[in-house]
Symmetry: C2
Subunit: 283 residues, 2 copies
C-alpha cells in the first residue's frame, strides 16, 4: 500500500486561485484597494532575504500588494518597535510579517509581541498563541496552521488519535501541539530532553517532525499506517524524518519539498486576505 | 515502600510564614501600605462565595488586605468589564481575582482577558498563558503553578520524565502541560476523546489528574514508582485518582485533601505579594 501524498504544493496553488478571486472581489467593492502585507527584513541574511522575497511574490501572484520594509543590521530594538507601531497604526496595512531571525542585539520576542493582534497574520504573538490555545479567535502561527489546513484538505482524522510532535519551538512545536489538541487529538510533545524517543514515536498515529535536524527521526521508529508530517527542510531536499521507507507503509506523508513548506507561505497570504476582507469589507 | 506525601497544606503554611515576613517588610518601607488583592464575586453561588471568603482569609493571615467586590447575578458583561477596568486603573490594587464561574449571560473569557497582565495574579488571561508558555515573564495559573511549586519543594525531577496530564481546561490542563514542558518533561495531554487512556497512563512517570470526575483514573493504570498529582476534589475528600492503592507503590502522591488544594490559594497570595512588592518597592 502506497502512502497518500499530502501535496502542499498543489493545495497552495489551488488556494491561490481562490485567494485571487477573493482579492479581485475585494477590489471591486473597495475602489481598487487590496489587502496589503507589510514585510520587515532586518539585516542582510541571504536566506531571510529570499524568504521575504518569496512572500512578496506570493502576494503579487494573488493580486495583493506587499509593503517591503528593509532595515539595516545595526537596527536597535527601539527602532524596530517604532517601525512596528507605525505599521500597526497604518490603516492601509492589513498584515505584518517580521522575518525571523532578527540580528542578535534585537529583542525579537518584544518585537513580535508589538504586532497588533488583528495584523498578526503570521501568528507569532504570545497573545495570539494564547487565544488560539484557548479556542478564541486569532490567526494561527503560519507553519502549524498550514499543516492543519493540509491535514483538513485530505480529511485526515485527528479526533482521538495520538499525535506526537517532536520539537517545542514557539513558532512550530508549541502551537502545533495546541492546534492538534484543539482538534481533539491526544498530544505528546517531545524534545531534546525526551528519553525513549523511538518508543514514544512508536505509539503515534500522527507524527510531526519539527526538530531541525536532517532525517533525525528514523523510519523504523514509526508504525505502519501512521500519518507522517515533516516540517523540516535541509539542503538537498531532506526533511527531519527519514521519509523514503515510509512511502510504502505510512497512510499519508508530506513530501519534502512540496509538503509543509508551500503551506507556510500560503497560510500567511490566506490570513492576510482574511484580515484585508475584515477591514475593506467583503462586498 | 511508602509513597512520599506531597504535603500541600504544610508547604502552604510554611510559605505563609515567609509571605507574612515579606508583607511586614513591605509595610515598613512603604508607610504601612500592603499588597491588596481585589476579589470579584458575581452572583450568589454558595461554593464561589466560600472560595472568595477563603481567599480573603488567606490574605488576612499574611497581613495583606483584600478588596471584596460583590456584584449581583444580573450583572452584564459590560458592567463587569467596567469594574475590572476600574480595578486595573486603581493604583492601590495589586492583584485581581475574578471568581470562576460567572453567571451565564457574562462573557467570562472577555472579562478574564480584561485583567491587566501585571495584576493577573490568578493567571487566567490568554496573554499571561501565552507568555508563560513561551517562557516570558507572567504569573502562572494558580492551580498548575501551585502544583509546580509543590513538586519543586519536594525536589521531584521532571527533566526527561514522561508527564501525562489528563484534562485540558484553560485553567488547569493546558497551562499544566506547558509548565511541565518548560520544565523539560515530555508531556502528553489526554482528555475525553483520548483512546486507550489506561495504556497511555501506564507510560507516565508523572501523572496529573484534572478531569473533575471522582476516582476516574484507576490505580492499576499507574505504574509503580510514578509521581501522582491529583488536582480533583469531590465530596467526601475524593480526588480524580484512585489514590488508596498507590500509597504503597507510587514514589510520591498528593493527598486529597491537603495536596493540591491548599497550593492554589497559596499561589494566588504568593503572586499577589510579588505584585505588591513590584509596585510598593522591596526596601
Amino acid at each position: 500500500m502506497s502512502a497518500t501524498i499530502l501535496d502542499g504544493k498543489a493545495l497552495a496553488q489551488k488556494t491561490e486561485q481562490e485567494l485571487s478571486r477573493r482579492v479581485a472581489q475585494l477590489k471591486e467593492v473597495s475602489r481598487e484597494r487590496t489587502p496589503i502585507l507589510a514585510t520587515i527584513l532586518v539585516g542582510d541574511d541571504p536566506a531571510s532575504a529570499t524568504y521575504v522575497k518569496m512572500k512578496g511574490n506570493a502576494c503579487r501572484r494573488i493580486g495583493m500588494d506587499s509593503l517591503q520594509v528593509e532595515l539595516p543590521s545595526s537596527t536597535t530594538t527601539e527602532e524596530l518597535l517604532a517601525k512596528i507601531h507605525e505599521l500597526n497604526e497604518n490603516p492601509d496595512v492589513h498584515g505584518i510579517l517580521l522575518q525571523h531571525p532578527v540580528p542578535h542585539q534585537i529583542d525579537e520576542r518584544a518585537c513580535f509581541d508589538a504586532i497588533a493582534l488583528e495584523k498578526d497574520v503570521d501568528g507569532v504573538t504570545c497573545l495570539g498563541f494564547g487565544r488560539m490555545a484557548m479556542g478564541e479567535e486569532a490567526y494561527g502561527c503560519a507553519t502549524p496552521k498550514g499543516i492543519m489546513r493540509l491535514l483538513e484538505a485530505y480529511d485526515v482524522e485527528l479526533e482521538g488519535k495520538h499525535a506526537v510532535v517532536v520539537g517545542r519551538s514557539p513558532i512550530l512545536g508549541k502551537p502545533m501541539a495546541m492546534m492538534l489538541l484543539n482538534a481533539n487529538a491526544t498530544v505528546t510533545i517531545c524534545h531534546s530532553r525526551t528519553q525513549n524517543l523511538p518508543e514514544i514515536i512508536k505509539g503515534a498515529d500522527v507524527i510531526v517532525g519539527a526538530v531541525g535536524k536532517p532525517e533525525f527521526i528514523r523510519a523504523d521508529w514509526i508504525k505502519d499506517g501512521a500519518v507522517v508530517v515533516d516540517a523540516g527542510y535541509h539542503p538537498g531536499g531532506i526533511g527531519d524524518i527519514e521519509l523514503g521507507p515510509l512511502m510504502d507503509r505510512a497512510s499519508a506523508v508530506t513530501p519534502v519539498p512540496g509538503g509543509v513548506g508551500p503551506m507556510t507561505i500560503n497560510t500567511l497570504i490566506y490570513q492576510s486576505v482574511d484580515s484585508g476582507e475584515r477591514k475593506l469589507g467583503k462586498g
